[in-house]
Symmetry: C2
Amino acid sequence: MPADAIRRAESALTARGRATRERIVSTAAQLMHEHGVAGTSLDDVRAGTDTSKSQLYHYFVDKSALVQAVVERQVQLVVAAQQPELDELDSLAALYRWRDRVVAVNSGRACVGGCPLGRLASELAEDDPQARAAVAAGFERWRERLTAGLRAMQARGELAGDADPDRLALAVLGAAQGGLLLAQTARSVAPLEAALDLALDGIRAHLGPGSAAVAGRHVPAGPSSRLGE
Amino acid sequence: MPADAIRRAESALTARGRATRERIVSTAAQLMHEHGVAGTSLDDVRAGTDTSKSQLYHYFVDKSALVQAVVERQVQLVVAAQQPELDELDSLAALYRWRDRVVAVNSGRACVGGCPLGRLASELAEDDPQARAAVAAGFERWRERLTAGLRAMQARGELAGDADPDRLALAVLGAAQGGLLLAQTARSVAPLEAALDLALDGIRAHLGPGSAAVAGRHVPAGPSSRLGE
DNA sequence: CCAACAGTGGACCGGTGGGTCCAATTCCCG
DNA sequence: CGGGAATTGGACCCACCGGTCCACTGTTGG
């Protein structure tokens, strides 16, 4: 995988070096999440990491190389943040727990920034083909986790046999992204909740014989849980 | 509404002036859709419109004032592009026609650029409060069109009485936005189709007694219509 | 027909951003 | 301990960008 050809991936890199590099990527990720890639100058990164210009170019050939590293980091963080729920995403109840987690995380930061990956996606998609590919791969990894869960549900008969887990997972991810974007714009979690709930309503429409609650209410509190504005 | 306090909204502005201003906004909108706001310099706009620097500042006090005008234009265009379907969006079949239209439009431009509003939203949300508000208002207008249709369905009993048209419309819009973003990133319309189909599956779960097809298939061709990659 | 004002052209400016360079310093390891 | 590589500091360069300014040209109505 040439993704790590950002610079000196082979050898070198002592413990100190790795720490510095990590500090740079971490801070850059934070800044780019809040102000966008274009809105984050290398000077901002330098100031925020207590490093010098030469160090940035010591660890990354380019600004775009730094961006690449940031993308990979965000993919890792985003997926990791949902690890607990994603690990056992194999029932409708689990999907709702995941929904709650996504809502809670976003709510916790007052809908600021939206999804880090989403922001990178829309900003880089048309400008940096390599970055676009990296983001796409990240979404793919995320989706695979959802797919795996749906497939497990299907194996147990909770999901109908003719349902397409890949396609459903893609749709659920889409609902999350769109909800996140609208939530960020409206500064309210309501759109996120609505989008995820409707997607899960859609999933319920694909339940199979293994589930006793096709018409039942797995939903926490119906359409009442509308917080935020 | 002080939204038009961009510059000389009151009087002045001859026919020629209006044409020039229009040309500037139109080109800027195009460029910003493709390259983002930050990625579009005033020089780019100048070059693309055969105008001079002074004209930009003659019609707009700021770059952000130009952005404001671009946002308003895009809102108008996006909603207008769906006028035919949005005008009679009052049945499940109409919703599917709308879905097909959205997919077709995006497919027609090879998923490049995604949704113009979505792009502006994620880029401006954290940097320009006024622009964020304008985009939010745009999404609101878009959503109202969807809400109106769902309300009509509800009045006819096709949609269940306890369904919340506002919330459902918000969710459908979210599905569209997310699908558009993933489609742009993956360069395939599949995510958009999947997201919209699942949302409409969700809507079907809220159908009322006035619809004879609660379990029926209003869907064009099931999950088979998967074009693009 | 000519004054007044909308519209236009384009040189210019200060700040900033990405990127280069080289010398100094620290660290690892034989 | 000593030398070579990893690491760091920061001055410097230049292109570009948003924004200013002023002189010029149409146009229009009294």
